[in-house]
């Protein structure tokens, strides 16, 4: 039954066995190694991992900022990676937008808010009249809870939360289908985080947006994401529905990550047992790991011996 439901859900973005290499061709640094996942229409997909795990690299590969060494990314069934015609390229730019981590760094200090938000509309090949442009910018600003009057101001006049709203307005102005949110709240204050999270989910409901939510803070991811993929050193090690992942974390790395989340509850914190992940606990010399669906919608990277153990843990 559930499988059928999953099939009827439309795949928005397919990431198909992609690898991203940096550095010299002969001795490449493999940042992302053979990663695959699908994101369904209207869902929020979380990508979690520590710094250097390759999560941002994947996000950047999707917006075409990093080139792929192998594999393919498809949006609505159409390839968006590799060489594209100019028209296709422009369409992808319109459909896929990004929200950046630090609103202090990601806004041009010397441009007015109106220009920052409208910049995507100025791109060559777009014929938008000045009037239309102003209307779109005003609408985008209103949608994120700012006033249209703000377009004549500079970014430094705004607080962190407002700046992040400007960043969101800039992404929305092109009416994208898919948004890559790269740690959109980690640079914000606690009291502002909730505002931005609420804004993101409200926009999703209104416009049917699909998000890829990149973060290192699992508590936030659990709150906002429908499904979560855990990435470690360029490999996705586990992927499941959020609640499933929190209820039955299987991979030792996921369990270590979950144990490290600080909980705002002194009793829990006092009795907490910290797990430390040691990659050498896997013996992949003979028995190679495979990407396997261990239960409905719950994927894991493991070899046959580990899979047998994990199966026992579920039952």
């Amino acid at each position: 039954m559930a499988e059928k439901a999953a099939e009827t859900r439309k795949k928005m973005l397919e990431v198909d066995h992609i690898s991203v290499h940096f550095g010299r061709k002969r001795h490449p640094f493999v940042a992302v190694d053979d990663v695959s996942f699908d994101i369904y229409q209207g869902e929020t997909f979380g990508l979690v991992g520590e710094s250097g795990s390759g999560k941002t690299t994947i996000g950047r590969a999707i917006i075409r900022a990093n080139t792929l060494a192998s594999g393919e990314i498809r949006l609505d069934g159409k390839r968006i990676s590799g060489r594209l015609s100019q028209a296709e390229d422009r369409q992808v730019t319109r459909d896929v937008q990004m929200i950046f981590q630090d609103p202090m760094d990601s806004l041009n200090e010397r441009a007015k808010v109106g220009y920052i938000v409208a910049e995507g509309l100025y791109a060559p090949g777009r014929h938008v009249s000045e009037e239309e442009r102003r209307r779109l910018v005003d609408k985008a600003l209103l949608d994120v809870g700012l006033l249209p009057e703000f377009s004549s101001r500079f970014p430094h006049e705004f607080s962190g939360g407002q700046r992040q709203r400007i960043g969101i307005a800039r992404a929305l102005v092109l009416s994208p289908k898919f948004i890559v949110a790269d740690e959109p709240i980690s640079a914000l204050d606690v009291s502002i985080r909730a505002q931005v999270l609420n804004l993101l989910s409200a926009l999703q409901k209104e416009r049917g947006l699909t998000y890829l939510f990149i973060a290192h803070d699992l508590s936030v991811v659990r709150f906002i994401c429908d499904r979560i993929a855990v990435i470690h050193k360029g490999h996705i090690v586990e992927l499941a529905e959020s609640e499933q992942l929190f209820a039955h974390p299987l991979h030792p790395y996921t369990r270590a990550l979950l144990s490290a989340i600080p909980q705002p509850d002194p009793i829990v914190e006092r009795n907490k047992k910290l797990l430390i992940y040691d990659p050498s606990c896997h013996d992949y010399s003979v028995d190679k790991p495979v990407w396997e669906e261990i239960e409905e919608g719950h994927f894991i990277l493991a070899n046959q011996k580990e899979l047998a153990e994990y199966r026992k843990m579920i039952n």
Partner: protein, 390 residues
């Protein structure tokens, strides 16, 4: 450890101001706080609440346009507010109060080996020289969990990962053999897994050297992990102070309620998260009444007129809100807070019944006999360790 220990450091009605282009910014408003030996105190607040300015007052590190308007900081028989020059501060800064800063990349010198940087502290504060100093450096490095100290000491900060760099910074702070260690957002720049390790390391150091630690952070999860006592700051004042259990399970100030309710850990999926509307007040202007009133949907009329005093809830717990005044109408905290209170009911009841401090939580308390309290003590003891024996 006795239950009512003499405070190690005592701040009384501290007012701190900055002058900026002819305007006066009232950064700290009537701060009073005691720090007890061996405890770990967490100061929580959003950016601009004055938490960093406050700890910088303890080390005389504020910018030159800042000045103490009134109040005192008693420490070791001295009033720190009277110290002016660097030579006045020499005996305190580093040697008795040390600090670990947020970003380990900016607090280390990129041009010197880390061995050199630790040795500098060893030379200055322990008076060791030559081979002895080198040996001390290696032992400190090992202590903070850096393997192969002899090789690592010759390396530069860029050869270390973020977590390792923070360990080096802690090593430098510990080389000074301080009495108080101030950690200013020690883990915000780090990953969650590394964060847990660094917090563990600081706790281990605290145990071993009977340190008093002051944490500054905005992450309430971290606070629950490390703190014996918590002070919540908002707009330059302490709005609530109490033991960790009291602040988490029985918070009284609307700002503390709002902070706790806006945490995604406590949110319900699919529903909007509680969020605090508006922004903190501008401290260039005089704040009238309760600073949080404009952002508090349930603010009372008096909140806009008269500034609330600190009301005591228990001997260790007090909050700056009119809600505690007996004449105030009864305002129920949000649901999340009630749920939290339910969880910590026994702890809160115990604290209220004893009317005494839990601030010695990290040290073995005298057995009061009650089975419940014994259980709690055991719980504290196992996790936090026993400071007094360190």
């Amino acid at each position: 450890m006795k239950k009512h220990t003499e405070p190690l450091l005592s701040v009384r009605d501290l007012n701190f101001k900055f002058t900026l282009r002819g305007q006066v910014l009232h950064a700290l408003r009537d701060i009073s706080l005691d720090v007890y030996p061996g405890e770990s105190l967490a100061i929580v607040g959003e950016s601009g609440s004055g938490k960093s300015v406050f700890v910088k007052c303890l080390m005389g590190l504020n910018d030159l346009n800042g000045y103490v308007e009134s109040g005192s900081i008693e420490y070791g028989g001295k009033d720190l507010t009277l110290l002016k020059t660097d030579s006045d501060w020499k005996d305190i800064r580093g040697s008795r109060i040390a600090m670990v800063l947020q970003d380990p990349m900016t607090s280390l010198n990129p041009l010197k080996t880390i061995g050199w940087q630790i040795e500098e502290a060893v030379r200055l504060h322990q008076g060791l020289k030559g081979a002895e100093a080198k040996k001390a450096v290696y032992s400190i490095l090992e202590e903070v969990g850096i393997s192969e100290p002899e090789r690592r000491a010759k390396q530069y900060p860029h050869e270390f990962s973020g977590g390792m760099r923070q360990r080096v910074v802690i090593a430098i702070a510990m080389a000074c053999r301080p009495e108080i260690l101030i950690c200013d957002e020690p883990t915000t720049a780090l990953d969650v897994t590394i964060q847990a390790q660094i917090l563990g390391l600081i706790r281990q150091m605290q145990k071993k050297y009977n340190l008093t630690t002051i944490y500054i952070t905005h992450d309430l999860g971290v606070v629950a992990n490390v703190a014996d006592r918590i002070a919540v700051m908002y707009a330059g004042e302490i709005v609530e102070v109490g033991t960790s259990d009291e602040v988490f399970y029985d918070p009284r100030h609307p700002y503390t309620w709002a902070l706790l309710s806006s945490l995604p850990q406590l949110g319900v999926k699919g529903e909007p998260l509680y969020s605090i509307e508006g922004t903190p007040p501008n401290l260039f202007h005089e704040v009238k009444g309760d600073a949080f009133a404009p952002r508090n949907p349930k603010a009372l009329k008096i909140d806009y007129v008269k500034r609330p005093p600190m009301f005591a809830v228990t001997a260790t717990h007090s909050a700056r809100t009119w809600l505690i005044d007996p004449r105030a109408p009864k305002v129920d905290p949000p649901e999340h807070i009630l749920a939290l209170r339910e969880r910590g009911k026994d702890l809160v009841a115990k604290a209220a019944a004893e009317g005494t401090a839990l601030y010695g939580a990290s040290a073995p308390e005298e057995e009061t006999g009650a089975a419940a309290s014994a259980a709690v003590n055991e719980e504290n003891g196992s996790a936090k360790g026993v400071t007094a024996r360190g």
